[in-house]
């Protein structure tokens, strides 16, 4: 009996040692892949950082107003953000490739699903970034145009443009990564539809006089001439 127990224990220990002997090289391979990944990611980050500096990416980002947004959100500069993104995506890709080398059951499927998800995540991040740039640029454009046209509440108009573009961008980003697609789509449709409806009602109820005045000015040449005469001051 005792001999049997000892024999079984010895066999188990032997099998464990064999398993360990099989696993340790794989672990070592994984660690080497991770280390190589860290090196590759660092090189990619360095190359990208130099390339972005060369093309003046930060200046472009500043022109579009993205830098201000990032500063407000206590985030690093847009080029640094992009470099870090590339670094982590590359390194995580290598780590996952290393994990697959371990040959753990069920892990491979998870890894392949994650690797398939990565491009979509990258696309979503890029969409968000482009959306932030676009919202900042167009809201500033709307603000300046409204101020120069002497429209009432130019900041509200500018803010509305920003919110609409950001909301559209976020819904697009969520759709790309496949998170709560329907919810976001429906929410966007409801908010956008409600905004338009409320604007239509507000203009219809509150802007009757303005609309009447606008139409009168458009249709009556006499009044238009008087208005123009008041502002006739050639800048050049």
């Amino acid at each position: 009996m005792w001999n049997m127990i000892v024999s079984e224990l010895g066999q188990a220990a032997h099998e464990l040692a064999q398993e360990l002997a099989r696993f340790l090289p794989r672990l070592l391979v994984m660690l080497i892949i991770a280390l190589l990944g860290w090196l590759a990611a660092s090189v990619a980050r360095m190359i990208l950082r130099r390339a972005l500096r060369l093309v003046g990416f930060d200046r472009l980002s500043q022109n579009a107003g993205a830098t201000q947004l990032l500063t407000q959100a206590a985030l690093p500069s847009s080029s640094e953000l992009l470099c870090q993104l590339i670094f982590w995506v590359t390194w995580i890709g290598f780590i996952l490739a290393g994990l697959s080398a371990l040959g753990l059951v069920g892990l491979e499927e998870l890894i392949s699903r994650f690797l398939l998800f990565l491009p979509r995540l990258l696309a979503a991040v890029l969409i968000l970034f482009a959306g932030m740039l676009a919202s900042s640029f167009f809201s500033r454009g709307a603000l300046l145009a409204a101020v120069n046209a002497n429209l009432p509440s130019p900041r509200l108009l500018s803010y509305s443009v920003r919110v609409v573009i950001l909301f559209l961008t976020i819904s697009m980003a969520f759709e790309v990564i496949g998170v709560a697609e329907q919810t976001i789509l429906v929410a966007f449709a409801i908010v956008f539809g409600a905004s338009m409806l409320s604007l239509a009602i507000a203009f219809g109820m509150g802007g009757r006089d303005l609309a009447r005045q606008f139409l009168q000015n458009r249709l009556s040449r006499k009044e238009e001439t008087t208005e123009k005469e008041e502002d006739e001051l050639s800048p050049l």
């Binding site: 500043q62 579009a64 300046l144 120069n148 502002d231 001051l233 800048p235």
Partner: protein, 422 residues
């Protein structure tokens, strides 16, 4: 060397049939049927009267008129063979009219490059809306043709409140930075030598965004920066220029966009310039009239005072905190007491120029942001000169120019600090 891409096959064919000429007079038109025919007649009369022995060509580049402008120009420039003045001429005057539908700048470029291709000794470009008389042709072309000068800029008789963008911004900036007292830095009617035409044809300005509307101020800056011989000539009243009075923002984009571009190009020139020099002038240095102008000053002030708080985030990225604070104090006052001082205006303009150089935000947005502040300055200028005589208005402009000159180091400091920082 002319860039032949801008010259269409039709234009090239016509230019080749003309051959070499002594004088080119260019007319860039777009729906100017009301005035272009008369201008073409005056050009023809001027050429026949003052340059009867020279080979001349009138070149009309039309941006796609639909009101028969081209036909009117052609008919007027060819004239009547029974005209006794035409009979006295020893040369045949040719008229070329072509379509160049890509905007005014492309028209100007086509005229400049045609002049170069025809090896013209003198080239004049006139506005189809100016009150041209035959002696304008002599005044603009004679100093060039005789080889004494390379660029002739006009001086017009103007209402003191007409062209405030010129008197309160373009003239003081060109004078302070380029050290030349040029009254019309954005000329509608001007002339230049073949040598300067070749220089212009080689400039990068034709590819710029502002080139879609006009590049005349770049011609002035290029003439000064290139060390060309410049003269001013008094032409008389300018006439009513419809397209330029239409809207402030396009006018600012046309002129300021071009001026800021020139500042970027010519930093080495204007940063080293010192002391303002007078430009040789035929006729009076200026001629102002003070007929009352109908202006809604209350609206100007309202637009200015509401713009400053509304544009706060934009202005914060363009102006220094001190200038921004001063502006906020300025709009905090009542309309009667609001005073947009010379010093504040000069600092504002310089800080916009430096921000444009640094690209802090879109350059188009920078110029749009200056428009409401300009309205504030116009409000103060009108209030300052209410009931003033011609000389008093001129004194106000002179004082403003001196302030711009005095504050040039402020611009240099901002500019070089940015250069070092970037």
């Amino acid at each position: 060397m002319a860039d032949e891409n801008i010259l269409s096959d039709d234009l090239l064919r016509q230019l080749i049939s003309v051959g070499e000429v002594d004088i080119v007079v260019g007319l860039a038109t777009h729906n100017n049927a009301k005035t272009a025919g008369h201008v073409a007649q005056m050009i023809r009369a001027g050429l026949l009267q003052y340059f009867p022995r020279q080979r001349a060509v009138v070149l009309n580049v039309d941006a796609g008129s639909r009101d028969g402008t081209r036909e009117l120009v052609q008919a007027a420039a060819i004239g009547d063979v029974r005209d006794p003045m035409a009979a006295q001429s020893l040369r045949t005057m040719r008229c070329i009219s072509v379509r160049q539908p890509d905007g005014r700048s492309r028209g100007l470029q086509a005229i400049v490059e045609s002049g170069e291709l025809l090896r013209a000794r003198a080239c004049a470009i006139l506005s189809p809306e100016s009150s041209v008389t035959p002696d304008w042709i002599d005044r603009l072309l004679r100093p060039i043709y005789s080889g004494d000068f390379d660029f002739i800029s006009p001086i017009y008789r103007r209402n003191a409140f007409d062209g405030i963008l010129i008197t309160n911004l373009l003239y003081p900036v060109i004078r302070a930075l380029y050290s030349q007292k040029l009254r019309e830095p954005h000329p509608s009617d001007f002339s230049f030598s073949g040598k300067f035409g070749t220089h212009l044809a080689g400039l990068d300005l034709w590819r710029r965004e502002f080139g879609a509307v006009g590049s005349e101020i770049c011609f002035t800056a290029a003439a000064i920066a290139g060390g060309f011989r410049i003269q001013q000539t008094f032409l008389g009243p300018r006439g009513h220029v419809e397209h330029q009075s239409a809207d402030l923002v396009p006018a600012m984009q046309e002129t300021l966009g071009a001026l800021f571009w020139s500042l970027d190009q010519d930093f080495a020139v204007w940063s080293n310039g010192d002391g303002t020099k007078a430009v040789p002038t035929i006729g009076p240095d200026y001629e102002l009239t003070v007929e009352p102008v109908r202006v809604n000053r209350k609206r100007l002030f309202q637009m200015f005072s509401s713009a400053v708080p509304n544009l706060e985030p934009v202005l914060r990225s363009i102006l220094t905190p001190e200038t921004h604070e001063e502006l906020r104090r300025c709009v905090g006052a009542r309309e009667e007491t609001c005073h947009f001082s010379d010093e504040l205006w000069a600092k504002t303009v310089y800080e916009f120029a430096a921000s444009n150089h640094r690209n802090v935000i879109s350059r188009n947005h920078i110029i749009q942001a200056l428009a409401p502040l300009y309205r504030g300055r116009v409000h103060t200028f009108l209030a300052q000169n209410r009931g003033a005589s011609e000389n008093q208005v001129e004194e106000t402009i002179e004082k403003l120019c001196k302030t711009f000159e005095m504050l040039k180091p402020h611009l240099l400091e901002l500019w070089t600090k940015q250069e070092g920082g970037s």
